[in-house]
Assembly symmetry: D2
Homo-oligomer: 341 residues x 4
């Protein structure tokens, strides 16, 4: 136990710095490895964990412990991990907490975060670093951070943007809410193995706030871009020409210049491949629901935000759209038929 807490303090050193200190601790105990736990090996979590393992650990200094509600996911991860840093499977989240110094979680919804952290926080030691990369409601993020504080654990909310491609490529953006600037500096080295942009957004919960604000705005501008392109095309304009005019004018936005929803305007975006891949209508619907929830709690009037949320809910439930990219809202509103004319 003593030993374990000693390790904990060394484990909080950045992975890539303080080599002297680390070597000191290594010299005093062969067991002085940093033990990283990862809970949630889904679409996003799996490739994130793999990047963290392969880029951020080495056999001599790290151990890696994984857990997922589906044991098959853990087994697959162990198999794919190969013979580098040792990877073991924990039978429960409590076991992860007992064995790891740094724990990353990637879960679908607030209710899962509550359940998992109840398990983790029943067993964590003081000073454990907890990084929740789930996208959840701000209220839950703040509440769970409060639980962690009571256990003297250091928790940050660090939701991501970039989707599964970004998770695989290790190019995610992390939006981090942390109790102190020092805490942000402490988690940053771990996140850098999974993402290329690590942004400090303020206190706990603000990571979630930043993410849902960005995604709400994205959700609205995409519908707005779709309506605008559709209107212009129906009035007789060539969509590429219209996009090029808008993209050098005041209507310009990411949804027109980087992710245009009209088939044929841009290459390499979901609209060019029948809206396959990308950021699904269901996920956008979920994220906008989080924005609506935050707006309701904070009594913020989000007229367009609420409207867009309802539109994505209807879109996601329309037959054939549940698994499409959210830019398929262009087709849903009657756009494509006209584009082909």
């Amino acid at each position: 136990m003593n030993c374990r807490f000693g390790l904990r303090s060394s484990q909080s050193l950045p992975l890539t710095t303080n080599l002297a200190a680390r070597q000191r601790s290594l010299s005093t105990a062969a067991a002085a490895k940093t033990r990283i736990g990862f809970v949630g090996l889904g679409q996003m979590g799996y490739p994130m964990a793999l990047n963290l393992l392969t880029r951020g650990t080495q056999p001599s200094t790290h151990e890696f412990i994984v857990h997922d509600a589906f044991p098959a996911a853990s087994a697959r991860f162990v198999a794919e991990a190969g013979t580098g840093t040792p990877v073991s499977v924990a039978a429960s989240v409590g076991e992860v907490a007992e064995r790891a110094d740094v724990i990353v979680t990637m879960l679908p919804e607030g209710k899962h975060v509550r359940a998992v952290y109840k398990g983790l926080l029943g067993a964590v030691g003081k000073g454990t670093v907890l990084i929740d990369s789930s996208t959840i409601d701000v209220a839950t993020a703040k509440e769970v951070a409060g639980w962690a504080r009571e256990k003297d654990a250091l928790m940050v909310d660090a939701p991501v943007s970039g989707g599964t491609p970004g998770a695989k490529a290790g190019t995610l953006t992390f939006m981090v809410g942390s109790p102190t600037p020092e805490a942000f500096e402490k988690v940053k080295p771990y996140l850098q193995h999974m993402g290329k942009s690590i942004v400090h957004c303020g206190l706990n919960g603000n990571g979630q706030v930043a993410k849902i604000c960005n995604n709400m705005l994205l959700g609205i501008t995409m519908i707005a871009a779709a309506e605008t392109m559709n209107l212009g095309m129906r009035m007789g304009m060539d969509p590429k020409l219209l996009a090029s005019i808008i993209n050098t004018s005041s209507g310009r936005c990411w949804s027109t210049d980087t992710y245009n929803p009209v088939p044929g305007v841009m290459e390499g975006v979901p609209s060019s491949r029948d809206y396959e891949g990308g950021f699904g209508t269901t996920l956008m619907s979920k994220d906008m629901g989080l924005a609506v929830s935050a707006a309701n709690d904070s009594k913020s009037a989000i007229l367009l935000g609420g409207t867009a949320h309802a539109m994505y809910m209807m879109l996601a439930r329309t037959e054939g759209y549940g698994k499409k990219d959210f830019s398929s809202v262009f087709k849903w509103m009657g756009g494509e038929k006209d584009a082909k004319k």
Copy 2:
């Protein structure tokens, strides 16, 4: 310089026809000057006309004829014009048509365009070049272009963006709908004295289509930006930090990165000076009304566009907002109080 203006005068030759006739007139009289008419010397038209006069004409090769519904405007223009290229006032639009080879019009609404062009087209000669820079409904733009065609005049719709600052600085963007690519090339030299970007948008009417599409998208994204900033601030985020995160993410748009509606986030934008100057709520309301009209005619579903239109109508009528920049929608929705917290 000589060469340059020589080119200009040749460029002002009537476009496709009557070369022989013109050569005759050139040989018989030193008076073979290009005569430019300008109708509508309002907030926008006045500085545009001044730029066209001072940058695009010289005494030896041009005459300039102006007309405005308010004679005082014309008188003021003559006084300010000075002793360069001769400027005279026409008593009626019919007189402008009789005397000018190239005519630019800048009028408030479609009904004025109809009235003025009825007057002009009753007196124009064949081949007269007509440039309407008013922002009006597409249906009127197409119809009036049809009238011009019947008179063998060459008409383009060329609405602008850039506001009065752009009009004064000569940095407007012109969105041009023209009957042929050649016609576009023919009007471009004139427009270049008043703007820095001259975009060909297709056939007659498409200049208007491009403008209302851009402005509809702008109108929606501004409200969306205001809602998003307000939400984030109420949830505890610093507005500058939130803007910086959004501006490097997928929510990015002109309304967040160039014209942020939250006081204190950016310098030199209307939100930093209590929403003075800029693009007024009434003008945005008017432009969105043109978009709604086009959408209704073309049976395009613009759910957010229609919503935003109604919001700007209500905003423009709220006491104290009628003369503010359209980004004051942030304050109107209750944003400013929170920003000050």
Copy 3:
């Protein structure tokens, strides 16, 4: 000709009153029949014309002249008319105008009304009574009424509500805009054979205004009713119970108490027969477009009206909904699946 104009003045007597005067005119000339023309024998016009013929005319005092763009419709009408009041087919609208004293028109859109009335008004005699029952934009209704005034004809706009069932049963509501109260009294007797409620709404155009106002409100309340029922059901309430509570409370509206959109709540409404019959999504979309047009012209902020318009446009274009009743918006928004749970 003299004779004809004599007839005209007698024809303007209400059909069911002034019997003495009528008998006088009948005694002076066997030819003194009232000649009724009907243009537009579509879904609505056909049964309306049949009611006017069978209930409002008799062989000794009337003639009936029909015209439709499709000759087959006229032929079918003549066949079905039988051997009572003589029915003849006019080859053109001009012929209708030449031969009839009272003319009813029932056409799809404003552009058809313009075209037909150009034809009619080129040939009508002074004092001819013109009743346009088409649902069209207010601007066209007023303009065409102006044309009629120039020809000394008496024109009213008299759009209907009640749908094809009401047209067949003769129970339509007519909303009448007329130049004078006397003109309203003059057309009322004819309308009473086709409808049970004849409402004077003011000057020309106001019949259209009343209709689009009612239908805009109906369109919004139907969506609102659908959202509310859906929300309550998803929260666990029995839809019949919820409807009964609302219908005795302040949320009550025609869309909940007379035309509830949830299958199984009421008998005999479209929702109880998979949304067959009733008032189609396309027609609702069209009527709301007229409201949007009027709002744009009058600078009225209709935030919910514009939103509902866009929703019906999208609904009407969704595969399988184009021919359904407009209350199918409940199913479209994801309602039915939950109702079955």
Copy 4:
């Protein structure tokens, strides 16, 4: 204690029936009075409590215990109660629980309900009847009912409609969610002294569901009515005539036929007295927020509901509207100016 539980079973008899049984119990113990507690003597609670006291109790058979966060409210109640049934003030909600058999609560928000019921349920005896008439979110209503179940108390949610006038007149409508039909029958006699319509809406939480569904629909239809009236008036129609046409047509709703928002159309409604009295914009905003919350939890798409919520939030915050009736939305959207024309 025994004695107390004996009383409890007698207390569960309806107040006005089973007189024989009651007299039996009265004969066995002079102390066998029904003890009614009331927590929350605000705008609504005060007159409700007064009605329950004066209509539903008598000195020989009842005691009345009150508590409010502001002691002055309790003192005023005792003073106004007079010399009939004895009224005493409890120093805490815990004391109310200890002393009362039936407890009614009327509190502003869910957080107050949570706090008060934590206090009450720490001290209630088995079988205590708990009636919460607060309008709160469904999730809280269900959760608190669960706490009561664990204590073997019988709890119902019974939010009201009718406002302060209904509270004073004792004509409220109660929408009751109860664990069983029997429980509903048990609380009904108490509610009948405070209201005229007592509706069973199903299980716990459904009282809240029914109320927020009704009020969401009301909130939308009021805006829709305001838009429609405004449109018609701007198009030239007399508002009384327009209302009368709509009220006999399919656009009819409570907001047009009972509570018309246009000044001068109806007598005795808030619009006829500059929107004073009635149901405040802030309360409507709050209730629609509860609907948005329920919709978000149940993943119900409420496009118009969310839009209306945002509109009432903005309305309530506009200077001069915070204390007006919610039908003032007509004036806010620019209606009044036209009405006066």
